[in-house]
């Protein structure tokens, strides 16, 4: 690997992205911590005690994996879409475009920035969840694997959204109308076995369901979905989104006239 054209530019983008979200931590790290605390208090403690057990676990324990993953998804996505769109909007993406940085390094750098924020928020939220639950992690490898891959997947989604976005409104459409509904319907708060058979089948078309369940397996050792299928779907999405992102960068869609 040529250090000057690969490693140094990659490291530069990652450091820049990391410093960006750390510099504005009250907007990036603090809000998910507060939101998740409220979720744990309201859904876990107040309402959860009335719900009782789900899949053999206290309700608050059952929702922890989904809530942690929801934070990872939202923050990985938000980091890349906001940062890359801002770079487009203020034209400082040109700093990279005129430099000898291969497209895949640009993509890897921005995605790593999204992963860094997603993972950091995930760790913070997991730490908060420890205050409300007595979690013992079933499989660190699976939990961290899903954690990481989900973060990559949604960083890529954020990147593609940023490429196509023409206004700040455009970067909030996908989170509002796609991500949030899919996350809430992805088994964060319930087991899909509670749904009628028809809706169980419909739920299988929701990719977030696979991530939430795979992560739940990592933490609790239970899942509505076969673990192999979950990983396969996550990896397939990552491969498709990476290909699409590189194509967009090569064509200069949204970046070059």
């Amino acid at each position: 690997m040529r250090r000057d054209i690969y490693w140094i530019p990659f490291k530069t983008i990652v450091i820049k992205e990391f410093l960006r979200f750390i510099r504005i931590w009250p907007q990036t790290i603090l809000p998910p911590a507060i939101t998740m605390t409220l979720y744990f208090v309201i859904f876990g403690q107040l309402i959860g005690e009335r719900i009782g057990k789900m899949d053999g676990f206290d309700y608050v324990d059952f929702i922890v994996p989904g809530l942690v993953l929801m934070s990872v998804i939202t923050n990985s996505y938000a980091n890349v879409v906001a940062s890359f769109y801002q770079a487009k909007f203020m034209h400082h993406v040109e700093e990279i475009l005129i430099s000898p940085v291969p497209n895949w390094i640009i993509l890897a750098g921005y995605v790593s920035g999204g992963v860094a924020r997603g993972m950091l928020v995930g760790v913070v939220v997991t730490g908060i969840s420890m205050l409300f639950t007595n979690l013992s992690i079933h499989s660190y490898t699976i939990a961290l694997g899903v954690f990481f891959l989900t973060s990559v997947l949604f960083s890529l989604t954020g990147f593609i959204n940023a490429v196509y976005a023409n206004s700040f409104d455009d970067i909030s459409i996908v989170p509002t109308f796609v991500l949030t509904p899919l996350t809430y319907l992805g088994g964060v708060f319930y087991s899909i076995h509670l749904l009628p058979e028809f809706w169980q089948t419909v739920s299988l078309a929701n990719p977030i369901l696979y991530m939430v369940n795979a992560f739940r397996y990592g933490l609790l050792g239970v899942s509505d979905i076969h673990l192999g299928v979950a990983f396969l779907i996550i990896v397939a999405f990552i491969a498709a989104l990476t290909t699409a992102s590189l194509y967009l960068l090569r064509k200069g869609v949204g970046l070059k006239s």
Binding site: I5, I8, M90, H91, E95
Partner: protein, 307 residues
């Protein structure tokens, strides 16, 4: 060696607008080259293509022998760009902007910091190194963009209206800096609307109009083509009417200001002889119009039928 070679470069935008209609351009290594043209002539499109910010429709671009199509990475290494618009992250500290740019160019961080310090000191921005870029004045922002373009020591520096909106003092200091840079071997391509800037700094020139190069020559040869020049003379004494100076066209602008047209081939010595014969004492004189400006208007005047 040829620093920049452009052959039959075309750019047609999606809406059908043909911004570049087959331009050919050569800039030799070490040159200080002016690329001039009216608004919308195609200058920024051409620069955008050279710097990989605009996709070309057809044609060839090579920089120091490296082809933009086959080795864009090598081409990008040669070029430093100072664009027309501020295009840095306004929410980043000044020094970080330079260090990051160096990083994109593959320069290790320790070396990037050393170069950043040197450049910020040279361009009198060192005291502002920790200030967010948005808090800089217009002149400082321009200098920041020059520093950023130089952080990887490019062999070809492209300046797209670098002194727009900058006060005269800073402009003169930037001219001095750019001259030094050129003397040290950096090839410079300059676009500007201040034609006296181009006349002062550049040795060679191309004028682009309606997406075509309408003139490319050395500055001296181009200026020698002027058929006539007009001068304004401030006189010691007030006059009632324009004096008769044989061989020169003279008019009285006001009681103490004469306008004299000097044709190509006529010397200024002749003019001063005639003035002395008429016992007119000249306090000061200046070109009525910048020389390059006259030629520029001649070359780019006419309708827009070619658009």
């Amino acid at each position: 060696m040829t620093a920049l070679s452009i052959t039959d470069l075309h750019k047609r935008y999606k809406g059908g607008f043909h911004a570049l209609k087959g331009i050919d351009l050569r800039v030799e290594e070490g040159d200080f080259f002016a690329l001039l043209g009216p608004n919308g002539a195609g200058k920024s499109t051409a620069i955008g293509i050279i710097c990989s910010l605009v996709n070309k429709t057809s044609g060839k671009v090579s920089v120091f022998g490296d082809d933009l199509d086959t080795d864009p990475i090598a081409v990008k290494r040669h070029i430093g760009l100072v664009p027309q618009e501020y295009n840095f992250n306004h929410w980043e500290p000044v020094a970080e902007i330079l260090v990051n740019q160096a990083g994109y160019q593959g320069i290790p961080r320790a070396l990037a910091w050393r170069r950043t310090e040197k450049l910020l000191r040279q361009l009198k921005l060192w005291d502002k190194r920790t200030v967010m870029a948005r808090n800089l004045s217009g002149g400082m922002k321009r200098r920041l963009m020059i520093a950023r373009a130089l952080v990887h020591k490019p062999r070809l520096l492209i300046l797209d209206e670098p002194t727009a909106g900058v006060d005269i003092e800073i402009r003169l200091s930037m001219w001095k800096f750019l001259r030094q840079l050129n003397e040290q071997g950096t090839t410079i391509i300059l676009t500007t609307h201040y034609l006296e800037e181009a006349e002062n700094l550049c040795r060679n020139i191309a004028i682009i109009h309606h997406g075509k190069i309408v003139e490319q020559s050395s500055m001296n040869i181009l200026l020698a083509r002027l058929h006539q020049q007009s001068f304004e003379l401030n006189l010691q004494q007030a006059l009632d009417a324009a004096p008769r100076l044989e061989g020169f066209q003279v008019s009285l602008r006001d009681a103490t200001t004469l306008e004299v047209t000097v044709k190509h081939g006529q010397g200024l010595t002749d003019l001063f002889c005639r003035l002395a014969e008429s016992k007119l004492e000249v306090l000061s004189m200046r070109n009525k119009q910048n020389r390059l400006e006259q030629l520029f208007l001649e070359l780019t005047s006419g309708d827009g039928e070619q658009q």
